[in-house]
């Protein structure tokens, strides 16, 4: 702390303030004042289905120009079909076996992927927070599936917040990132997204993801897949959960399959 005091004293000297008189933020209430976001929040929460559908269209359009693949589906069943198709058709980049890693999230559990791969050489992993082997499983995986909390239509940005059971590397190490998102979690622009972030107390780390990893360092030639995923797929659930009478509540799904290794066959 001593070097902090000396450091801040230097700054106060540079600013022509009294060097040794520590200043507190209470003396400048304007400094950390932020605009009132209740209006923005009200707007987000009051969106009609039509407005949300419009946002999905904007997201798809803006995502296209960033090389994001958007799949709009009506139900979890359809969503599962999209994901299964991707797992079957894509080839692993760094090894020869198909491992898939998924966040511990009710919307991902609701896809019931383990039911679909019991006769194929596909290994599914879920990032339960107690599992000590998640790092190795993630490194081995060619597809990572997450369910980001906020999606920004204007910049086609996924906001992935680190939480227990939802580690950072799932959307980073695998070659393909699939994000399962709900129409009602879309916001129009970054101002709305930041208003939602402000609401969350004690934020851990989080990341904005706008498209696949890319580089243009060699002769300004755009190449996708520099260090992160080379493909990003958005699966947009356009039907609110309540409308899907035939599906079980997602919370129950999670409890059903309390194992790390869902299905293995090779």
């Amino acid at each position: 702390m001593d070097n902090q005091t000396a450091f801040l004293t230097t700054i106060r000297t540079a600013l022509d303030e009294v060097p040794n008189a520590e200043r507190s933020k209470k003396m400048f209430p304007q400094l950390f004042s932020s605009p009132d976001t209740t209006g923005i929040l009200k707007k987000i929460r009051g969106r009609t289905v039509e407005e949300q559908t419009e946002l999905v269209k904007i997201l798809r359009k803006n995502g296209n120009s960033l090389n994001i693949c958007t799949h709009i589906v009506e139900s979890f069943k359809e969503a599962a079909a999209v994901v299964i198709e991707l797992i079957r058709t894509k080839e692993p980049e760094f090894n020869y076996t198909k491992h898939v890693i998924m966040h511990d999230h009710p919307d991902i559990a609701a896809l019931q992927l383990w039911n679909r791969f019991n006769r194929e050489a596909v290994t599914l992993h879920t990032t339960f927070s107690r599992d000590p082997h998640i790092r190795d499983k993630t490194i081995a995986s060619f597809i990572g599936i997450t369910a980001p909390a906020i999606i920004v239509a204007d910049s086609a940005t996924l906001i992935q917040i680190t939480e227990p059971g939802r580690p950072r590397s799932t959307s980073l190490l695998p070659s393909i990132h699939i994000a399962i998102i709900r129409r009602e979690n879309l916001v129009a622009d970054l101002a709305e997204a930041y208003a939602l972030l402000r609401e969350k107390s004690r934020l851990d780390s989080f990341v904005f993801i706008s498209g696949p990893s890319k580089t243009a360092d060699i002769e300004a030639h755009m190449v996708h897949g520099a260090h992160g995923p080379r493909e990003v797929h958005l699966v947009v659930l356009s039907e609110p959960l309540s409308a899907q009478g035939f599906e079980k509540a997602p919370e129950e799904m999670g409890k059903h399959n309390d194992s790390n290794l869902m299905t293995t066959s090779s």
Binding site: E17, K25, S205, S213, A220
Partner: protein, 485 residues
């Protein structure tokens, strides 16, 4: 003696490859950013962000204390480093305590400013740059020449040969194949490193996060996979609130690469929590002064701290666009480098930089936070012309000062001036070439004729011609002033 600046500048001008890539870079990003500003709906955004940057400097002590407190509350460590040496010492100590063998770096110009790489290497630690451009530069043992496109001076053939030699892959000049080769090689390094070392684009005091932008994902890798993350932050790279962060980061990515947002914007503010399977177990934020408080103290130059290092001024500067980045001999090149390099590292030492720029004002026009770089370039020249105690600057060229004193005497006395011209006309005769131009002058005069021919002193001055032609009218009418013409 020819300065290194001139030698490197001439080298840059003489390289057709560099000229071609600088031209296309400026054509795309320079013009693109100007078009973006012109078409922006929210015309006040740049002004607003600049204002908030300047306001925050007035309360910098409070903001930094708040940031430190919030990072510590999350279990992170914060160290305040007055000098480059302090920052290096602290980082080495962290590395030693954790038995670090390999460090992966996310692009950080500050790390180059404080020269931490050689210090780590001397301690027996392998240092790997992970930004593709920086990695290529590192493999080649070269220096970066642009803030966001470090290897703009190399072409795909050179990079292909470099990879074939250093990475043992088959030669190819296909950018996707080369990127893939680097992806594989760097993935191994990133997954096995013990420490990630990054900079900080923008810290947010109220939430206690640093944020980093990247398109490749190397920053995310370097801050997620190793056990230790050390972030080096210039003390001026801070905003108070999330709202300020949003506007500032948008200006950054727009100005840098015409993107609404970069592919990744990472917010990090501590070690991973107990439940987290990945993320660093230790997080260290090193807040660095290294000469910045001196800039802060000088009202003439404080504005330059508002820079968010987008590199846009490089994409429009007519001087950078010809000579390239190497001539600046600094981690910071282009117009912004021509101002901060002398301020951080000595005005006399980098005297050529401010003199080399043209003061055309393009950098001010393109700057997302409208920093008046031309004004500060002129101020630096003033310091060089007259010396400055505050900046410990001596008069750069006393001979030049004498010459200008004499020149002033001469041009303010018309008889002397005319006599001087007559003498000049007489002595220039042997030098005037067949094309009626002076092609070569000797000594210090050669600077005027090396790159072009110089017209000789005219037989008559403009005033003489004028009075000869309009003499009779002049007698009859009052003098015509320039405005009326």
């Amino acid at each position: 003696m020819t300065s290194q600046y001139r030698v490197d500048a001439q080298k840059g001008i003489g390289s057709p490859r560099l000229q071609a890539s600088l031209h296309s870079l400026q054509d795309r990003f320079g013009k693109g950013a100007m078009a973006l500003w012109a078409g922006m709906e929210d015309k006040d955004m740049r002004k607003r962000v600049k204002k908030s940057r300047m306001k925050n400097f007035e309360h910098l002590d409070i903001l930094l204390a708040e940031l430190a407190q919030n990072v510590r509350a999350r279990g992170g460590n914060v160290y305040f480093a007055k000098t480059a040496q302090d920052a290096i010492g602290y980082t080495l100590e962290v590395a030693r305590k954790n038995g670090v063998k390999r460090v992966v770096k996310g692009k950080s110009m500050l790390s180059m400013e404080i020269a931490i790489d050689p210090a780590l290497e001397d301690a027996g630690i392998e240092v790997v740059e992970t930004d593709l451009g920086e990695y290529i530069i590192q493999l080649a043992g070269d220096k970066p020449s642009h803030i966001i496109a470090p290897c703009i001076h190399m072409n795909r053939r050179q990079i292909g040969e470099l990879f074939a030699e250093k990475l043992g892959v088959d030669y190819t000049d296909d950018p996707p194949a080369l990127t893939l080769a680097a992806r594989k090689a760097l993935r191994e390094k990133l997954l096995s490193a013990d420490m990630g070392l990054t900079g900080c684009n923008l810290a947010c005091a109220e939430t206690g996060h640093i944020s980093l932008v990247s398109n490749e994902g190397n920053i995310r890798m370097a801050t997620t996979m190793p056990q230790v993350h050390v972030a080096l932050m210039g003390m001026e790279r801070i905003v108070a609130t999330l709202e300020e962060h949003r506007e500032t980061v948008q200006l950054l990515t727009r100005a840098a690469a015409l993107q609404k947002l970069s592919t990744y914007v990472s917010f990090l503010g501590g070690p991973s929590s107990a439940n987290d399977p990945d993320g660093p177990k230790e997080f260290h934020l090193v807040i660095i002064d290294n000469g910045r408080s001196k800039i802060l103290a000088d009202p003439e130059f404080r504005e330059v701290l508002a820079c968010i290092r987008c590199g846009a001024c490089l994409n429009i500067c007519p001087v950078y666009g010809r000579i390239g980045g190497h001539a600046y001999n600094s981690p910071y090149c282009g117009p912004i480098g021509a101002v901060i390099t002398p301020l951080l590292d000595g005005i006399n030492k980098h005297a050529d930089l401010c003199k080399g720029e043209t003061l055309c004002g393009a950098c001010k026009d393109i700057c997302p936070v409208q920093i008046d770089l031309p004004r500060m370039l002129a101020a630096l020249r003033h310091k060089l012309a007259y010396g400055s105690d505050r900046w410990n600057t001596r008069q750069h060229n006393p001979a030049e000062a004498y010459a200008f004193t004499l020149w002033r005497l001469l041009v303010t006395r018309s008889f002397l001036y005319r006599t001087f011209l007559k003498i000049g006309r007489f002595f220039q005769r042997p030098f005037v070439h067949k094309n009626k131009m002076i092609r070569k002058m000797a000594g210090i005069g050669s600077g005027w004729t090396d790159g072009r021919d110089l017209p000789p002193i005219a037989k008559r001055t403009f005033t003489e011609l004028w009075s000869q032609k309009y003499n009779k009218d002049l007698a009859a009418q009052p003098a015509v002033t320039e405005e009326e013409i």
